[in-house]
């Protein structure tokens, strides 16, 4: 058996052994690095896109080599990215039409938050006196919408 062929067989064996080792290691109780700290979404998405500088990425790479939780997240993000590859290359177009005074977007959104159309209408109405100290979502949202209306 020549050296090249022997080397190839040995590398195949080591590949199998390595895989068995890594898969066994995965199922063991997590190390301290896995449970005490996780990389936030912002860094993870930037890492998967290759947008982190060398300086920032070194500690991330070291962490991902030990933290299965964060590494699994990046793997899933890469799979998603490949699945939606064509969307990354679409040119964004900015529609020319101006939004309405009360946009459909915020109307629908606030309707979901408040649970019904009446709640959304209430949120869009001018603020009545006596509601200034309200800290709930409805009170603050109506104040916010009023502020937006005044700005227009």
């Amino acid at each position: 058996m020549d050296n090249t062929k022997r080397s190839s067989i040995e590398e195949q064996k080591i590949q199998s052994l390595l895989e068995a080792f890594l898969l066994s290691r995965k199922s063991l109780k997590s190390s301290a690095a896995e449970t005490s700290f996780h990389v936030d979404e912002d860094f993870l998405s930037a890492f998967t896109e290759g947008n982190l500088s060398q300086r920032e990425s070194m500690p991330i790479v070291s962490h991902l080599a030990t933290c299965g939780f964060c590494r699994h997240k990046t793997a899933e993000l890469v799979r998603l990215d490949v699945a939606f590859r064509s969307d990354e290359e679409n040119t964004r177009t900015v529609p020319s039409a101006e939004p309405h005074r009360i946009s459909d977007v915020l109307s629908g959104l606030l309707a979901k938050i408040f649970g019904n159309a009446d709640g959304a209408v209430f949120a869009h109405s001018e603020k009545e006196s006596g509601d200034d100290d309200s800290k709930d979502v409805g009170g603050s949202a109506s104040a916010e919408v009023k502020e937006n209306n005044e700005q227009e």
Binding site: E10, E11, K13, I14, Q15, S16, L17, L18, E19, A20, F21, L22, L23, S24, R25, K26, S27, L28, K29, S30, S31, E41, D42, F43, L44, S45, A46, E49, G50, N51, L52, S53, R55, E56, S57, M58, V61, S62, F69, R71, H72, A75, E76, L77, V78, R79, L80, D81, V82, A83, R85, D87, R92, V94, S103, V105, L109, K135, E144, N148
Partner: protein
């Protein structure tokens, strides 16, 4: 110099660059009503975090590279949406809703409605929680390091995991990556019953070689660089395909790509442009070769095995992998 004073001096050195970024963003989106104070606060926070990433301060070139990688326009719309700007929300909805819906339909299974996911994401992005009188929007956590689309992928994936976890008693994502399967690993171990003295002696010898093999592969893996470990883990544990790893390193600035292109210097490697699957395979092969070298070295130096005994260990590798009992005594290192 006090940290606060150093920070101020550091930030003032690049204030003009940040001002230039802000001016470009305002030119591209004049109706978003993001103030320069707001924009600079976000960028400066990221700058300081970047500077603190390693003990030594960054060079000017490193800082300028960092600023050039920032997705300033994406950050601008995110800040505007966090502030509740109608125009920004309208543009966000126009540009990203379709993408989010396709993502949600791709990820969601039958018991979690894709529209529920979108609704949850939008509510989270808008923010219904108030802290000190200010609405807390998820957009406030986006720093512009990666693209907004990439960040949204993360957000929607997380939302789906949370929704799925809330509606099921299945093993959680945390448990999946920590303890699940531990019982299965031990349960797969089968005690070997010796039928006689000669077989017992042979069994002891084989156990010795098995122990040496398992410990040596563990040591060999530990001896790799972090980038090599991560590549192997992505391929073998996360089961990423070669084309998926190639996608991960597609960006010329990708840290994994730059590291491997430096280490595995080859004329056929494409310094710019897309990385081919064959290139990723070549990186893997280099890593396997290194593992094999470290493995053999470990068997010889730590376990005092002869060349013939090392060959026995290599032979055992093929025999024992089926039962997976080789790593019964493995500990996390």
């Amino acid at each position: 110099m006090e940290p606060a004073a150093f920070n101020q001096e550091f930030l003032s050195e690049y204030a003009a660059n940040v001002d230039e970024m802000f001016a470009r963003c305002v030119q591209n989106a004049p109706n978003f009503a993001v103030t320069d104070v707001r924009f600079k606060a976000s960028v400066n926070k990221s700058l300081l975090r970047f500077a603190a990433a390693t003990p030594s301060p960054p060079t000017r070139e490193e800082v300028l590279e960092f600023l050039s990688l920032l997705q300033a326009d994406d950050l601008f719309i995110a800040l505007a949406c966090a502030d509740g700007n109608e125009r920004a929300w309208w543009e966000f909805d126009q540009n990203y809703r379709g993408y989010l819906e396709r993502l949600a339909r791709h990820l969601a299974k039958t018991d979690v409605d894709a529209q529920d996911v979108i609704d949850c994401v939008y509510v989270e992005l808008y923010g219904t929680r108030f802290v000190d009188g200010e609405r807390v929007s998820k957009f406030a956590t986006y720093s512009g390091r990666g693209s907004l689309r990439g960040w949204l992928r993360t957000v929607i994936w997380h939302t789906l995991v949370d929704l799925h976890r809330a509606s099921h008693d299945d093993v959680s994502l945390d448990e999946m990556t920590e303890n699940a399967g531990e019982g299965a690993v031990h349960a797969s171990f089968a005690n070997q019953v010796s039928a006689g003295d000669s077989e017992a002696v042979e069994q002891i010898a084989r156990d010795r070689y098995r122990t040496a093999t398992s410990r040596s592969i563990e040591a060999a893996f530990s001896g790799l660089e972090d980038h090599e470990k991560l590549l192997l883990l992505y391929y073998h544990v996360e089961q990423l395909k070669l084309r998926e790893i190639a996608r991960l390193v597609e960006n010329e600035e990708s840290p994994l790509r730059r590291w491997f292109q430096r280490k595995v210097q080859s004329r056929s490697d494409n310094a710019t442009g897309r990385i081919h699957e064959s290139t990723v395979m070549r990186w893997l092969d280099k890593s396997y070769a290194k593992v094999l070298q470290l493995f053999r070295s470990e068997l010889e130096s730590t376990h005092d095995l002869t060349v013939a005994e090392i060959e026995i260990c290599m032979g055992l590798v093929t025999e024992d992998l089926g039962g997976r009992d080789l790593f019964q005594n493995l500990t996390v290192g």
